[in-house]
Amino acid sequence: MKRSISAVLGIAVAASMVLSGCGGDGDSAEGGGLKLTLAGWSLATTPEFKTLADGFHTANPDVTVELKEYDASNYDTQMIADLSAGKAPDVFVQKNLKNFYTYQNGKQLLDVSDVAGQLGDKAGGMANYQVDGKTYAVPYRNDGWVLYYNKGLFDKAKVAYPDGSWTWDDYAAAAKKLSTGLKSAGSQALGTYQHNWQSTIQGFAAAQTPGANWETGDFSYLKPYYVRALDLQKAKAQVDFGTETTNKLTYQAQFGKQSAAMMVMGTWFIATLRAQQEKGDADKFEWGIAPAPQFDKSTTGTAKTPVTFGDPTGLGINAGIDKKKVDAAKKFLAYAAGPQGSKALAGIGITPADTKSVTADFFTLSGVPNDDVTKFAFGTRETKPENPVSKHTAGLLNVLNDLHTAVMSGTKDVDTAIAEAQTRAKNEVLNK
């Protein structure tokens, strides 16, 4: 029995270690330079982290920023695991707002209101990171959704380019006209491509419909957007949702290989498309961007500010960071979100937080179209967050994702799906 007693003791010790909660581990500062760790993903194909790290080091030679690589599609799962064990890096990216809430609510982020104050209102999207009057992260990218279009295919189908005056009905009509026009011109391409993410439809619906607020549990604002999307599918102006999912179509290939004349997508695609055209992974063709289609005529035209949606990508400081490094970390955040960082990012085609001061640099890059409509779409927009940040965000997103797959696959009709989603939201999410 002696052996079992020592076994039990061992278990008790282990259990008490776990129950005592987790503390943060900081890296001790090495003699000489200070080292900050920064989380990033897909380092080989996502140059923005290295750009920021190197740029900051050039401006502050006594601080090195070391990159830690995470898996792009499971970034938050891995980060949560690391944070819970106290092993997360000093500065980590807020990949989406949904998990920003998780981290902030879990007290994993340091208060960086002073950095936010320095930056003022130049950094777009800052408001999203404010909770109870304090700011917990700063944006270094502020992407928004715009309309990409293929000039060559438009010419082939004899349709006029989008000029910033389109509503969704104009867009749908153009898509259908493009499909028929392209077909008679002998092309296999379709009028438009809408990727199968829930945000493609729901993001626009929430941002553009006046008064839409999912926290009320009323999802009727989604209906017109879904009706339009289903209609485009039926008219064969857009690939079927089922085919998109089972064949894992990628939006990069659909637009880049000219299988679609138009696409609504985020501004992050500008950098990707540019790089792919240079490398040969995408066809070389003339393209441009226009403001996303609008809810109604009140926000169309280049004299107004179009409304679109998009989540900022931000940087937050690990609350468990070594006290000696806090200043350096804050400096890094200020750099990334400020004009210097924005300039560096624009140089590789990324849409930085501060778009206004880099428009000139951005549009001198090779491979980026620089017509007026494109410049307008890039620089002038009201970007609302894809979803508001609260403790209900994650739950509501899941409910709405089920609605999305059910409706787009034709399993449920729109009204039934919305009604069910509202009931589920009330019983499972909003009552907490």
Binding site: I11, N247, A394, D402, S409, N427
Partner: protein, 301 residues
């Protein structure tokens, strides 16, 4: 199966000695198992009664999680789907793998090749397999529906993008994947069937079916029992096949309990609630397993 020899002299000492010997065998495995599995699982039982968002401490919340579960329609959907999957997957896989083992237990020409073929699905990376099967099941362009249309079926099912056919599609892939694994176990088990028994019953005039029923099957009982238990538990716990093929969709038609746990825990950060759901899943598995143990013990007598 007992090892106690006639223990009339100093029985207590014998018991201690048996215990020591027994533990000496078990200990190497138990050290690792106890610390790495038993402790976290025990903690799970604790967390099920708390409200825990993983970062801070867990706050005791009593039965709140279970009350929430009772009124949670998604939980009941997941439970229903899990039972659906298990009820079809277990008998189907059992039949297929046993059949394969029986057929491939002979000196056929090329039997090595056929056994390897049956085992292939099990060793493929699930990531790749899910992607390939999704494509094969593609409703408009996939070869399976093209084949069905060729046979004259006008409206072939939508498979993974239709609510009614998504689960059958996933079950099919599950059987395809697991049959090799259990075939292997049955093959090993078939080695314990004494050849003499077969010869004896052939001499007695029994045909192949009678031999199977009266000789092979009874001798296979411990193996069949093991396979059934593992298959049932595995089906209740099914996770990666569903996650990678349909992610619970379309809608919630293939949402199963393990996935619901993952969603609540890692996506919505409700680890306390996720733990409570896990306990329910565990209780179901456990009860079913005990039931199987009892049935097995009774059959043995």
């Amino acid at each position: 199966m007992a090892v106690i020899l006639p223990a009339r002299r100093r029985p207590a000492r014998r018991v201690v000695r048996n215990t020591a010997i027994g533990w000496s065998f078990i200990l190497p495995n138990f050290v690792g198992f106890g610390v790495l599995t038993l402790v976290p699982v025990a903690l799970l039982f604790y967390y099920a009664f708390t409200d825990w968002n993983i970062f801070g401490g867990a706050q005791w919340s009593g039965l709140a999680n279970f009350e929430q579960m009772a009124g949670d329609s998604s939980f009941w959907t997941a439970l229903r789907n899990t039972f659906y999957y298990t009820a079809v997957h277990v008998p189907l896989t059992l039949a297929v793998s046993l059949g394969l083992a029986l057929v491939l237990n002979r000196k056929l020409r090329g039997v090595a090749f056929f056994r390897t073929v049956a085992f292939f699905p099990y060793i493929t990376a699930i990531v790749a397999a899910a992607q390939v099967w999704n494509m094969l099941f593609s409703p408009d362009f996939g070869p399976i529906n093209e084949f069905l249309r060729g046979l004259g079926v006008d409206h072939p099912p939508g498979w993974t993008v239709s609510a009614g056919w998504a689960m059958p599609a996933v079950i099919l892939v599950g059987v395809w994947r697991d049959m090799g694994y259990y075939m292997l176990i049955f093959l090993a088990g078939l080695q314990t069937v004494p050849a003499q028994l077969h010869e004896a019953s052939t001499i007695d005039g029994a045909n192949a079916w009678q031999r199977f029923w009266n000789v092979t099957l009874p001798c296979l009982r411990p193996t069949t029992f093991f396979v059934t238990v593992m298959l049932t538990i595995g089906s209740f716990k099914v996770f990666d096949v569903i996650l990678l093929m349909t992610d619970g969709g379309p809608g919630q038609s293939t949402l199963v309990l393990s996935q619901y746990v993952f969603q609540k825990g890692f996506e919505e950060n409700q680890f306390g609630y996720a733990s409570a759901v896990s306990i329910v899943l565990f209780a179901i598995c456990f009860l079913v397993t005990i039931l199987q143990f009892v049935v097995n013990k009774r059959r043995e007598a």
